[in-house]
Amino acid sequence: MSRVIYLDNNATTMAAPEVVEAMRPFWNERYGNPSSMHAFGGQVHRDVESARARVAELIGADPGEIVFTSCGSESDNMAIRGAVEAFGRRVNVITSRVEHPAVLGPCQELAEHGVTVQHIPVDAAGQLDLVRLGEALREGPAVVSVMWVNNETGVIFPMDEIAAMVHAAGGLLHTDAVQAAGKIMIDLQRVPVDLLSLSGHKLHAPKGVGVLYIRRGTRIKPLLLGGHQEENRRAGTENVPYIVGLGRACELARAHLDDLPRLAAMRDRLEQGLLATCPDSSVNGDRHRRVATTLNISFEYIEGEAILYSLSDVGICASSGSACSSGSLEPSHVLRAMGVPFTAVHGSIRFSLSRYTTDEEIDYTLAALPPIVKRLRAMSPFVPK
């Protein structure tokens, strides 16, 4: 394969060249331990703190509220389990039907240990049912975990409204913002969530580093015990090169927020082009409240994995909500929660762009996909005559 057209940025992203450059000295030049009592380590401590400040700046937080973790999943686990434990487990958990497995997993585990967990449904556009959320909140004190942006559809939940509701009911709000950072403005001064998860590799930092934002005053029990790193909130020697990389990536993400209209235009061109050239296709998710970089589109009568392999043959990387490509036998829980018909779920393809996506790549995809859809449909027993 000579050329790769990478339209799977919700799965992971390329580390930005500036990020790789920023990390470079921290392997064998500035390799000190930030906790050490010598100047060699002390300098590294300052580098970690400057990265912390840059992360905080991207989301409108105070640096003291940023805890570095190993990934988004760790942040989600730490937030949900840590918050519930801090309540001595005498608290309900409320989440949504469309969360990432990193949120659904710990919720399920808590449910198995007797904690009441409710999954709030979404409507056909993938928007959270706020009426049901309100009802659930009336049933007693709750730790609420709902994502800010959905990874499959790009749909944005109204986090300001949700935060107001949760706090009015005396609850605690965690949000998985892994797909939101760098794709929408996040200002935690204005939207007062209590806990927020970020992942490095979704915003052009490397894989293996994440963040949990913990609003000052929020009680949460740590997952990892040991040393005093991260102000006793997460033990373990800091992953310095990656943390430095993440700091630089957040700085870049902030500077590139201006790119979003350009990306939205590219995404819309892809969307409109495919809808026009591929009959019986439809877009999944709320088109009015959606991040600029995601397009989830269904092609009736054909199956996603077959589409992905055909795309891969011509160098295009995307992903699908079909059962076969999810590695399980059940298709996307997100699209099913939205009530998308099975025919459309199995043939759903997600394209996700980044600031490195070019107009030529969109053109190439617009030319490559319709013949693939046509070829697979010619084989399908379900295409109406």
């Binding site: 199956e303 077959a306 392999y309 079909s322 036998l329 298709p331 099975f342 199995h346 084989m379 027993p381």
Partner: protein, 283 residues
Amino acid sequence: MWEYTGKVLDHFRNPRNVGLLENPDGIGEVGSLACGDALKLTFKLGPDGRIADVKFQTFGCASAIASSSALTEMVKGKTLDEAAKITNQDIAEFLGGLPEQKMHCSVMGREALEAAIDNYRGGQGGKRVLAGKVVCNCFGVTEEEILRVVRENQLSTVEQVTHYTKAGGGCGKCKGDIQALLTRVAAEQLAAEQAAHARSPARKMTNLERIRLIEETLERNVRPALRQDGGDIQLVDVEGPRVRVALRGMCAGCQVSEFTLRDVVQSKLREFVNEDIVVEEAP
């Protein structure tokens, strides 16, 4: 990405015999849109009674398309009796193997072929009718189908049954029933082996054969039940009639371990190996 063989990718990229025959002699349809894959197979017989032409339409993943394409190549020129002998393993082998999680694609091929032959012979609609008790409601898989696939492919775990038939891959409620079917088949097979043994009573079992039979009995008749509860059993030693075993995981030190040992292990070994066996727990 799945590890597909070159042959799978070739049949996916260049599928042979795509389409529908007009006025076919036999037509078979299996699967559904809801399940995520479906196959419609049509064939025509030549004057010599052999399959002269065959075409398929498939909705499904790359390996479903490849399995269908392979099937059409395999049946061409065969009589219906010959074609009816094709198993799902034959289809997988023709393709140089399939990832285990994708074996259900080969099973779908075999089922469509059967439905098409049935249709020719009995003149039915060609849609596979669900015969017998449905075990898995999520994917509409019957007891008969599961038993057949287990026997033909020598499956021993619920997970394998899911890979081959999809049964158990949805809500998971049917997993207990699938385990029961597996246990039933294992017991049948063991009984058949023992009957074969009994038919040659002249020779006494060698020590090695005896140990092997004990191992087999533990594997088939004891382990699955323990694993369900997160436990396991290991054979430690065999000394004449004394069989020493160790319990691992959840079973070790569990309240009912005494009961588990005497009641299950010993009775199974007595039943399948020898009347005089005494089971002891290794410290």
